[in-house]
């Protein structure tokens, strides 16, 4: 089947139109298009978006295939409406050489559910001491442009400066995990009223904000662009806003969970809420939503972090940090941004597809829904409401903080270059 | 308070806390003057059987057995002209039905100064029923000392024993059916003295 007609879809949330896919590209967008020779998908008022792009995913392969593989992770991505994901470098071995990034890249291509763009480590072994072979990774088949030691902060100011400078040669970007290590020794949750009561090690907002402040100034000084991973505090928002107003080339992401959840949930000591950066306060959540709406924060990125059951079915201190997010991201964004009136669907397309593709230079992704563009598309039933059932996840892991929570919206179809990866909510 | 009959659980709990009357259909079987009279009789019997009651120690079982014990002690003092040691013995932690109810607040165990070793201990309770309270009291005594002998005085014996236990001094034998309730009200706790015979509300 080479032709698909999506009939009556609200493209980017606007008035219903028909979209005709021919082969790998969008052939025509308009009303009353002929279904002749095409498989018809009745969109029936669902919202059609460009395929979502996640700049921050942990696929765990190689090394932790017990929690996720490229196959299960990309199936989860397709299930959540994504057509491209950027795979973080903290695998075993670390993605700090051309060999590892090419392996991950090829696995993604071979499985065909979602494009996998590997992120390269900034420093060898994520250890923060010696720069990894950033150029070699860029020149590899994987064509790495985003570099990050995510999970660890590039805390040494000189190393950070050098990395920012070095990647300019090939248009790369360093994505910083902003966490001052000394201020977060023994940190287990946001430092504040709740941590004081629960006796859990505090993770001060300033540990994030001080690194962001330093890095935007470094980026300004050396004339590089810098990307801030999973921004989580109101103070971080203020710093990024200030940096942008100065013309610094900074971009920032926020995770769906930081748009919805607060540290009050930690009172249950349930490690499903243990995440890095930690869940913050209501005030932070509201500031993050506002910043995403006004563009201070450029994108939503999932920080999809799968962990096996046993790493969460334990006491808080022993638990791993992270949450799965690919399959619930759009629902959480609808709940927190669209249904609250902060963002239109066109805005969602911008924050979850256009901008992340731009930052990561993901070719063929984040393109307009118009004739001649690659047919990377996502169809969303925005009227749907249902409670989250992790048993239905395509991800190998189930560590979602939303189990049993009612959320709006459901991705019904995903197309990757014209090939359906998700049909009626089922993976192909 | 003998409340351990499994068919009559926690009977003491429906006893009015203060000054109230029993259920509408409850009828008094002993009034204030009767209670005073039977206590006097019991006191005389104790003196008689204990040959002057010189080594008697009275131990009331909380709550109402303690008040009865104190009243008996006063009467014994009147009769003998000596002070008779009186105390209390809480049996809560010795009950055999602990796992059938939520735990209760503990009452005070107060053993008079010279202890109970070699003495004649007279246990005092308001109602003798299944006998399980007294069994528990004997166990409790065992952990406190070794009396020369132990006797039992009760205001009312309503029958239906479940253990081979009998009272040495009985204020009134009151044949009852298991559907009936016996409530002892005492001025110290309830504002008036009376014994009420009623019918169980929820069989």
């Amino acid at each position: 089947m080479s032709k698909i007609l999506i009939r009556g879809a609200k493209v980017l949330g606007h008035d219903p139109q028909d979209v005709l896919i021919d082969g790998e590209t969008i052939a025509e967008v308009g009303t009353g298009l002929s279904a002749d020779g095409a498989e018809v998908v009745e969109a029936d008022g669902k919202v059609l978006l460009p395929g979502l792009v996640d700049l921050h995913t942990h696929l765990r392969e190689p090394g932790r295939e017990d929690s996720e593989t490229v196959l299960t992770g990309t199936r989860a991505a397709a299930s959540g409406g994504f057509t491209a994901v950027f795979a973080m470098a903290n695998t075993f071995p670390v993605a700090d050489t051309a060999g590892v990034v090419e392996q991950v890249y090829r696995l993604g291509r071979d499985h065909g559910y979602c494009d996998v763009q590997p992120i390269g480590a900034v420093t060898v072994g994520l250890e923060g001491r010696n720069l990894a072979e950033l150029g070699a990774m860029h020149e590899s088949a994987a064509g790495v442009t985003v570099f990050s030691d995510d999970g660890k902060c590039v805390h040494d100011a000189v190393i950070m400066r050098r990395a920012l400078e070095y990647v300019k040669a090939f248009g790369g970007v360093v994505a910083q995990h902003a966490q001052e290590p000394r201020l977060t020794e023994g940190a287990e949750m946001n430092e504040g009223v709740v941590s004081a009561e629960l006796g859990l090690g505090g993770w001060p907002a300033v540990a994030e904000e001080s690194i962001i402040a330093r890095d935007v100034l470094l980026a300004e000084h050396v004339g590089s662009r810098v990307h801030i991973c999973h921004l989580s505090t109101a103070g971080s928002v203020e710093i990024v806003r200030w940096a942008k107003s100065r013309g610094i080339a900074v971009t920032a992401e926020v995770t769906p969970h930081h748009l919805l959840l607060t540290d009050e949930l930690v009172r249950t000591y349930n490690p499903v809420y243990k995440v890095n950066p930690p869940l913050r306060t209501e005030r932070d959540v509201l500031a993050l939503r506002e910043a995403l709406a006004d563009g201070t924060i450029d994108i939503v990125a999932t920080d999809h972090a799968p962990h096996p059951h046993e790493d969460k079915d334990c006491e808080w201190a022993a638990a791993a940090m992270g949450m799965v997010g690919l399959e619930t991201a759009l629902a959480v964004v609808q709940e927190t941004m669209v249904d609250t009136g902060l963002l239109t669907w066109a805005g969602v397309a911008d924050r979850m597809s256009v901008k992340p593709a731009e930052i990561g230079r993901a070719e063929g992704h984040g393109r307009p829904v118009s004739a001649g563009e690659p047919a990377n598309l996502t169809l969303v039933d925005t009227a749907y409401r249902g409670s989250v059932d992790p048993a239905g996840f395509a991800s190998r892991s189930r560590n979602t903080p939303y189990e049993g929570r009612e959320l709006p919206g459901r991705v019904t179809h995903t197309w990757l270059r014209g090939k359906a990866t998700l049909v009626d909510g089922k993976l192909t | 308070m003998d409340t351990q009959d499994t068919q009559n659980p926690r009977q003491d709990q429906d006893t009015p806390r203060s000054g109230g009357s029993g259920p509408a259909d409850a009828r008094p079987v002993l009034e204030g003057p009767d209670i005073a009279r039977v206590l006097t009789r019991i006191a005389h019997e104790i003196v008689e059987r204990a040959k002057g009651a010189e080594d008697v120690v009275l131990l009331g079982i909380p709550t109402r057995g303690v008040f009865l014990g104190r009243r008996l002690a006063e009467k014994l003092a009147e009769i003998t002209g000596r002070t008779v040691p009186v105390g209390s013995l809480d049996i809560t932690m010795y009950r055999d039905d602990l796992r059938m109810h939520p735990p209760r607040a503990l009452a005070r165990t107060e053993i008079p100064g010279d202890g109970i070793d070699g003495r004649l201990v007279v246990l005092v309770d308001d109602v003798l029923f299944s006998g399980r309270t007294i069994r528990a009291a004997l166990d409790a005594l065992n952990d406190i000392g070794r009396p020369r002998a132990v006797q039992l005085a009760v205001l009312v014996d309503r029958g239906h024993r479940e253990l081979p236990i009998r009272a040495d001094y009985v204020g009134k034998n009151l044949p009852t059916s298991l559907r009936e309730t016996v409530k002892v009200l005492l001025a110290e706790e309830d504002g008036r003295d009376t014994v009420l015979l009623g019918v169980k509300q929820n069989p």
Binding site: G192, G199, A317 | Y94, P102, D143, I144
Partner: protein, 328 residues
């Protein structure tokens, strides 16, 4: 129903007074020739200690044995736990042996809460100290000691600590004893003041039902009881304070400072004391210091808690806070 004792904050005023009153009766058992009650005959209690604490374990063990419970002691050192077995597996192994209650001491804050609320086991859970979170039986024995000293042994029955001024001095940040005491003493009507160098007070303390002061001398004359907390020497290396000498000069309790307390006021310490650091030998050995009483009272309090949670078919204390609830 409070099936578990996880946090002092879970206790209502009436629960707490019931526990103190019950402990007062339990204390009298210690004066008897046979210091044993048959109450928990046939019940099995395991003392599950992932952290060394001989004194707390012995106190629980004495309480359990006085109530005739069968006692299993499980210490993590040298056990399968050090070989990587999880808390969940350990607890389930113990429960398979027919355990009615688990007394748990754990280095991780919230471990007892997880044990009680994760559906791993059915047994009652009693928190014997978790990380820097809570140590509810310590707070109860402290309140018991205060009530005896400040209100009276018999006069105290049924009473709380309404209007008493309690000062807690030392490493508040790392102290589960401080957290438990603030919660419980507040519930019992006392006014609590925390005194510490600002580095040893947690961010977020403003939401606690107490005052915070950095000036010990200003607070002492207005204290009915002063509780000195242990300050570990290692804290010095993490720059919480410059030197041991400076700490004791500013926040240690010596004879001169004790003389500034009201005459009836007592000095408390949960032990183990670091003499010369937070407390001088002169104070530690004085009549006003209740350290030894606190140890004895610990057994009575733990007997009361065990009786009230396990003595019946359901617990006798009510429930207020912590059920896992789904938030917004």
């Amino acid at each position: 129903m409070l099936r578990h004792l996880i946090s002092a904050a879970d206790l209502t005023r009436d629960d707490a007074v019931l526990i103190l009153d019950t402990a007062e009766e339990m204390a009298r058992v210690a004066d008897r020739p046979i210091k044993k009650l048959p109450t928990l005959r046939g019940r099995t209690v395991v003392n599950l200690f992932f952290e060394d604490s001989t004194r707390t374990r012995i106190s629980f063990e004495a309480a359990e044995k006085r109530l005739s419970a069968d006692v299993i002691n499980f210490t993590a050192k040298g056990s399968s736990v050090s070989k990587g077995e999880s808390l969940k597996d350990t607890a389930q192994t113990l429960e398979a042996m027919g355990v009615d209650a688990v007394v748990i001491r754990h280095g991780a804050s919230g471990a007892p809460y997880r044990l009680a609320n994760s559906g791993w086991i059915d047994a009652a859970v009693i928190n014997a100290g978790d990380g820097t979170h809570q140590h509810p039986t310590q707070a109860l024995l402290d309140a018991f000691t205060m009530r005896r000293r400040l209100v009276g042994r018999d006069a105290g029955l049924g009473q709380d600590l309404g209007g008493r001024r309690i000062t807690v001095v030392g490493d508040i940040l790392h102290s589960r004893v401080a957290r438990s005491n603030v919660d419980l003493l507040h519930t019992l009507g006392a006014q609590v003041t925390l005194v510490a160098p600002p580095t040893l007070v947690p961010v977020g303390v403003g939401s606690w039902p107490c005052e915070v002061s950095y000036d010990l001398d200003a607070v002492l004359p207005k204290s009915d009881a002063v509780m000195m907390l242990r300050v570990q020497r290692e804290r010095m290396n993490a720059a919480f304070f410059p030197t041991e000498r400076e700490y004791s000069r500013r926040y240690g309790l010596d004879g001169d400072r004790m003389a500034r307390m009201p005459e009836h006021a007592v000095v408390m310490h949960p032990g183990p004391m670091v003499r010369g650091m937070e407390i001088t030998a002169e104070v530690a050995d004085s009549d006003r210091c209740t350290v030894v009483e606190q140890v004895a009272n610990g057994v009575s309090i733990r007997m009361a808690v065990l009786y009230l949670l396990l003595g019946g078919n359901e617990p006798a204390v009510t429930h207020t806070r912590t059920e896992e609830k789904s938030d917004r």
